[in-house]
Symmetry: C2
Subunit: 192 residues, 2 copies
């Protein structure tokens, strides 16, 4: 998605450890016009997949998923993070390793809102090593819900999360794919 | 806002300790059509206030603020929660007591995204004792930003957060005001 790539090139900042900061428009301050266009783009890509629910993870996935959910006219469900595993049986729970925070946390979703009759589109802002998306996939599998696909705003291809998801036979579509970020220079896949 | 009141009456659940659960449509699973209407209603109320930025708090404020931000055509900024106070000087920081979680946490906003030239609309899903909103007000004051108003989806009037905010001379508008929840029965203000 050229609009997103242009914005990353204009406003993204690269930090040591392959960290890309896009917090001026995507995950701290949010540009609602860009995110509405992102939601529309996910709808264009997945509109024929019979989506009944959009699943994301707090916090930075919520804004992206909101606008997409409106285009699909389906509910959005966001997995909540917690450090405690003292959760009731009313929830599906998965473990997620955080790349940026170097920690493991639990995510959960109420069993009330995810059913085996659901056909789910998983959305998130970033895909790096894939742990967050794999946690959401795990939750869908626990609910016996069908996974229609995974939509990502920014995939860091060199961190191999994409391979893990495609390796499970799941459709993955990323709006901007970064091939490397050597010396603070961002190289997008289709620009090579 | 009658649409929101109707939905609370239909799908809200009251738990001991004056807890109102609306997680089937507002803060776990989200109905994007209702939230879009809520965003439009906040725009109707505050459109002449010269808003330049919408400020909310993760996670459940984000969805509400997203749709409103699109109507206002201004950026949305969400304060992040953290347990550690080991934050850089690049952030405005405030303390917030959580009513439901019986704990205190820090919230922060990057100084890059809130300026004294900003005229801010603070939005959130709930107003109970007012601690989250007061934390966001504190952050605006640190940035010398003007506070145009506070918009709340559900105000629990009997927990007195509204008095604290109005007592500071700040315009507060709540779309649904609950006067009491005795015996699991929700009584809205304009229904008495």
């Amino acid at each position: 998605m050229q609009e997103l790539i242009d914005r990353i090139q204009k406003d993204g900042r690269v930090y040591p450890g392959n960290i890309l900061k896009v917090d001026s428009f995507l995950n701290h301050q949010i540009d609602p016009i860009l995110l509405d266009h992102i939601g529309e783009e996910f709808f264009r890509i997945f509109q024929h997949e019979g989506i009944t629910k959009i699943l994301t993870i707090e916090s930075s996935g919520i804004a992206i998923a909101c606008f997409a959910a409106k285009y699909f006219d389906v509910p959005l469900l966001f997995a909540k993070k917690t450090k405690s595993i003292n959760l009731s049986d009313d929830n599906y729970i998965a473990s997620v390793d955080s790349y940026t925070k170097k920690t493991t946390y639990q995510v959960f979703v109420s069993k009330d809102y995810l059913r085996k009759t659901d056909r789910v589109l998983i959305l998130d802002d970033f895909l790096a090593n894939g742990c967050a998306a794999l946690g959401l996939i795990d939750i869908c599998e626990q609910a016996f819900a069908q996974i229609a696909g995974v939509g990502i705003c920014i995939e860091k291809e060199f961190q191999h999360g994409g391979e893990k998801i495609r390796g499970k036979g799941i459709r993955l579509e990323s709006l901007a794919v970064i091939q490397d970020m050597k010396d603070g220079q961002i190289t997008f896949k289709n620009q090579l």
